[in-house]
């Protein structure tokens, strides 16, 4: 088992983590998010033989959303491992390998599928470190695709990060850009905690899906870390703050650019991590603009947007800031395109919320 101070001899399986730069300059090389993700995994696999990738269709297929393309050719089937469609077994396998000091990256295609193996995730992966009083670590990355927008229906389009954030013991990261995708994946692999790494299909820059221009961006060739738990001001503004994450960052920036011409100055905060949540950054942007809109592709009630509202209410610096939210209104994601886009946090809904905020 992977352990801390009480049994240092058994901790030898951990390779020391090289010290990597934190958020270096982006440079000029441009990649889509999927390639940035593949690059982080490949580089960490080269650096540490204990890192391996496992999941459904991660091998020859390269991941249904291209998260592992090319890795099988580089590392072979001993380290890029296709599994049976037995999520409880292979996620639990990842947990057991992690407690023995390996560093598994386990992909479960869609977050919607986590229900079939939820026990392994929230009762085991997330709790072993606590139940062991800190004596056993589970350095595992659980990677999955989230989000809707392409008529895949109610069981293939959810975001659900709030669900995992609600259950203690796992870090939850949700990149929006190629730069962050690489840096957060590198941080996740090197983390001694279990990390749920959620990428929205719409940020990957996939050729078979409508692409936002921001799904391709500058990514350094070197390895680096984007710290887990640190939000990023994606755009400075003074009139209203949009606090958001994932594909909604792209939409929010598009809206902010459009409204700039009308003299409306929008600040966009990209949370990047749901656990830990950068509450200081949320309070700071609220204190700056006095108006907060949370844009969240997860369900509205009992989730991230409510948590952000509570954070604002509990903190003197941001108390009294105007607040509204643009979320999925507590309905399963519909199939028909017109219905789906009626409930997703589209640029049109975000724009309307900004106009209402500055008018109020």
């Amino acid at each position: 088992m992977s352990v801390t101070a009480q049994n240092p001899a058994a901790a030898g399986a951990h390779a020391p983590s090289p010290v990597l730069p934190v958020e270096p300059e982006a440079g000029t090389r441009r990649l889509n998010t999927a390639k940035a993700l593949q690059e982080a995994i490949g580089s960490q696999m080269e650096a540490n033989p204990e890192v391996f990738v496992m999941g459904e269709d991660v091998g020859a297929y390269g991941g249904i959303f291209s998260s592992t393309t090319g890795l099988l050719d580089r590392f072979g089937p001993q380290r890029v491992i296709d599994t049976p469609i037995s999520e409880t077994a292979f996620i639990g396998l990842g947990i057991g390998a992690a407690v023995e000091g390996m560093r598994p990256i386990v992909e479960l295609m869609f977050v919607d599928f986590f229900g079939v193996c939820m026990d392994q995730i929230y009762n085991h992966m997330a709790k072993i470190h606590y139940e062991s009083g800190g004596n056993v670590r589970v350095p595992m990355v659980l990677m999955t695709a989230t989000g809707g927008g392409y008529s895949d229906g109610a069981q293939h389009s959810q975001s659900l990060w709030g669900t995992f954030a609600h259950l203690p013991g796992m870090k939850v990261v949700v990149p929006s850009t190629p730069y962050d995708a690489k840096g957060l994946m590198t941080a996740a692999i090197q983390s001694d905690d279990p990390v749920v790494y959620m990428f929205h299909k719409g940020v990957m820059g996939l050729p078979w899906m409508a692409k936002n221009k921001r799904s391709i961006g500058a990514v350094p060739e070197q390895d680096y870390i984007v710290p887990i738990g640190k939000a990023r001001v994606a755009r400075e503004g003074t009139d209203v703050s949009i606090v958001t994450l994932s594909l909604s960052v792209h939409h929010s920036l598009d809206v902010a650019e459009k409204l700039e011409g009308e003299g409306i100055s929008v600040e966009v905060l990209d949370l990047r991590s749901v656990v830990p949540l950068d509450r200081e950054a949320i309070v700071a942007t609220a204190a700056k603009t006095g108006r907060v809109i949370v844009v969240d592709e997860d369900y509205q009630s009992f989730g991230l947007s409510g948590e952000i509202a509570a954070t604002l209410a509990e903190n003197a610096a941001s108390r009294g800031a105007a607040f509204s939210r643009v979320c999925v209104p507590d309905v399963p994601i519909p199939y028909a395109r017109d219905l789906e886009y009626a409930v997703l946090p589209t640029p049109a809904r975000i724009e309307a919320a900004v106009r209402a905020a500055v008018a109020g």
Partner: protein, 338 residues
């Protein structure tokens, strides 16, 4: 201690047979002491959360032969994943009694610094873990076996469930995957006839879970009689098979739940309850060893006294250990300093 040198019919030397007995006696001594302290301060109004040992308590009396017979083949480098009823396996696998007891008493010196409790024991020293969710200890055992296999060792993982868990998805997924990848796992089903209050016949479509092994392309063995030496023999083959890279085995043992599902369970659902003590495997084994001349009956009291002393020392350690500080309840959710 007096040990005769006659070999047992199973091929075990007298000393090995006595060692199996002593393991069982130690486990029983431990659980009798826990039973005593668990109930001691819950009266007059029985309150599950009160007392020196709060919470649910699942004791394994009657199932000692499974733990002793299997763990005799293991070293601390091998992994064991157990169920919500874990003490017999933990002790037979060599867990430190002090830290086990301290965890049960909810003390800072316990395996989990009082964060886990008796259903959630994690011991890096013996690669032991358990789960309060049925069948869900099987998948992590796959991962430990995977790590052992990838590192080119001959270490094995033993995954234990009850017979009720053999109807869970995690059980079947794990058997398939372990057989597919020839993982060094021994799957063990402790069939004590009862899934809490539901008899096996009302929950399981086959007479023997060992038959299910055929569906996954692995050997299946059922051991009747709660006989530690028969279990030892079957486990020996299964462990050797796993160590030599031939993959998993499913081993079902028909054992006995001597006491309730949990302490406080009056077992009104159990028609054979009056006869249960007659089937206690420990007196039966003492008699068998004595009849064979492998054991001098007068030595048993000494083994018991020695076991009780070890247990009382562990309990004294636990009870004299500090309780965790309330202000530290939030520690260990994540790795500190990471």
């Amino acid at each position: 201690m007096t040990i005769q040198h006659a070999a047992a019919p199973t091929g075990l030397a007298a000393a090995e047979r006595v060692e199996l007995l002593r393991t069982m006696i130690l486990i029983r001594a431990f659980e009798e002491a826990i039973l005593r302290d668990y109930h001691a301060d819950k009266k007059p109004a029985w309150d599950i959360g009160a007392g020196l040992i709060p919470g649910e308590m699942h004791l394994s009396a009657g199932q000692e032969p499974v733990a002793a017979g299997i763990c005799a083949h293991l070293t601390a480098n091998d992994a064991v994943t157990a169920t919500h009823r874990p003490h017999h396996l933990a002790i037979a696998h060599g867990m430190d009694l002090n830290r086990l007891a301290a965890e049960i008493y909810g003390r800072e010196t316990g395996l989990g610094r009082g964060r886990g409790g008796h259903m959630h024991l994690f011991d890096p020293d013996t690669h032991f873990s358990c789960s309060g969710i049925i069948a869900e200890g099987y998948p992590p055992a796959l991962g430990q076996a995977f790590a052992f296999q990838r590192r080119g060792t001959d270490r094995v993982a033993v995954a234990v469930t009850g017979e009720g868990a053999a109807n869970q998805g995690g059980f079947h997924e794990s058997l398939n995957l372990a057989a597919l990848w020839k993982l060094p796992v021994v799957f063990v089903v402790e069939d004590n006839d009862w899934g809490i209050s539901v008899p096996r016949k009302a929950s399981t479509s086959v007479a023997s879970n060992a038959d299910r092994a055929a569906g996954y392309g692995m050997p299946g063995v059922r051991v009747e009689g709660n006989d530690v030496e028969a279990i030892h023999a079957a486990a020996g083959e299964a462990v050797a098979r796993a160590r030599s890279g031939q993959g998993p085995t499913l081993l079902e043992v028909h054992t006995l739940r001597l006491w309730g599902h949990f302490e406080g369970d009056a077992q009104g659902y159990r028609p054979e309850l009056a006869e249960v003590p007659e089937h206690d495997p420990i007196p039966a084994y003492i008699k068998a060893l004595t009849d064979d001349g492998a054991l001098d009956a007068s030595a048993v009291d000494g083994y018991r006294a020695e076991a009780v002393q070890k247990v009382e020392d562990a309990l004294a350690f636990a009870k004299s250990s500090p309780t965790p500080k309330p202000e530290e309840a939030l520690r260990y959710v994540f790795v500190e300093g990471a």
